[in-house]
Symmetry: C2
């Protein structure tokens, strides 16, 4: 089962981490995998492009089936292995509605973060505009505040059980704190970050370079 | 069933249209709904914010359950009404993997389009940079070319059956042609656009203002 699976991944990427948490939660340990270095451009090599033509990670194969978008991988695993490991999508309509809502809202939070990081890191300095940076920061801040309101103390994101919502959102929240998000300004998100960090699926997949070296940016400290 | 549902929507928005196609395909005609005018800012009024705090459309309620992100609505409807209407997610693993991959990839295509439109329309002119516009256009063009390669003549997106992949992607493709995408440069996408436009779920939900008035932009004509 898991031995037919292969994952290309990069350390610290929320989409990669999300796929790995889902694999753990579904009890699919033992999948083959290869850690690639984004900074060396290893995600653009032919063996990755053969699975994911965009040259992005994660790139995932289950036998001959290729699935790359991180939430597609998670949904596929949940659907194919519904009765195995953690049930990530509950059956009851009200619970299910909330899990879908939070999981897909998680992609909005991620996008605001991507907009901010891409602009700050990849737009050439001479082209960068203060006003655009400010607008990106304001959008990310409004979004982070919304999530601060979503989180309940001592709870997962969509209630007491760990669900697909956590699979999607936890890696984004953890990255935000790694990038300097204030634990004082976002106390509930900070509690949520701590609440899940020792969960086996998260501990087993924690970005190795985060454990080895301190952050190189505090871009979010004023968010 | 459908009479417990309420949808706030805007004409021509791919996320709104997607939710409406899913409702049709699942045989949930008769849901209550209200068409709002984006240009008048009607999507920011309290009755919408009460369902969707971001003040974005679609905003959807099923009884007391609120689901707003468009793909969350579609997945929720498919899951709750699996055996009703069109089966949008196939059971067979290989088919399912492809449907999930294409459906979630559809959000990537949509995002490239959003990046382009938001920059061209909402960044103040004095702040806009030629180089950024050019980079956004190149990214959208590379993405459109990838999709031109995905489409097969006389077929839906993930094979012969209409699936969640079409629910997600069709409204984006249709919008791209509405915004001037070249039918000569993208002949397969153009065929796909035509192939599905008379499908009952799409015809019944076609953006009313597209039927009434000509496009006001040809932003994508050089894509």
């Amino acid at each position: 089962m898991a031995e037919d699976m292969f994952l290309f991944w990069g350390s610290g990427s929320p989409p990669c981490w999300r796929a790995m948490i889902a694999l753990e939660e579904k009890g699919l340990q033992g999948y083959k995998n290869k850690l690639l270095n984004f900074e060396k451009g290893e995600h653009k090599q032919p063996e990755v492009l053969e699975v994911n033509p965009r040259g992005q990670l994660p790139a995932f194969r289950h036998g001959e089936k290729k699935v790359n978008e991180s939430l597609a991988i998670c949904m596929y695993l949940e659907s194919q292995f519904k009765s195995r490991g953690t049930q990530l999508i509950p059956d009851k309509a009200a619970d299910q509605a909330l899990v879908y809502q939070r999981a897909f809202e998680g992609l909005v939070l991620q996008q605001k973060l991507v907009d901010l990081l891409m602009y700050a890191r990849h737009v050439p300095e001479e082209e960068r505009q203060e006003t655009t940076m400010k607008r990106n920061m304001e959008a990310a801040s409004a979004e982070a505040q919304l999530w601060e309101g979503h989180v309940q103390e001592g709870s997962c994101l969509a209630g007491k059980d760990f669900t697909m919502a956590d699979v999607v959102v936890y890696p984004v929240v953890a990255l935000m704190f790694r990038l300097g998000l204030s634990t004082e300004k976002y106390p509930k998100l900070s509690q949520y970050n701590d609440f899940l960090k020792d969960r086996p699926s998260i501990k087993a997949t924690y970005p190795p370079h985060w454990l080895e070296s301190p952050p190189t940016s505090d871009l979010l400290k004023s968010l």
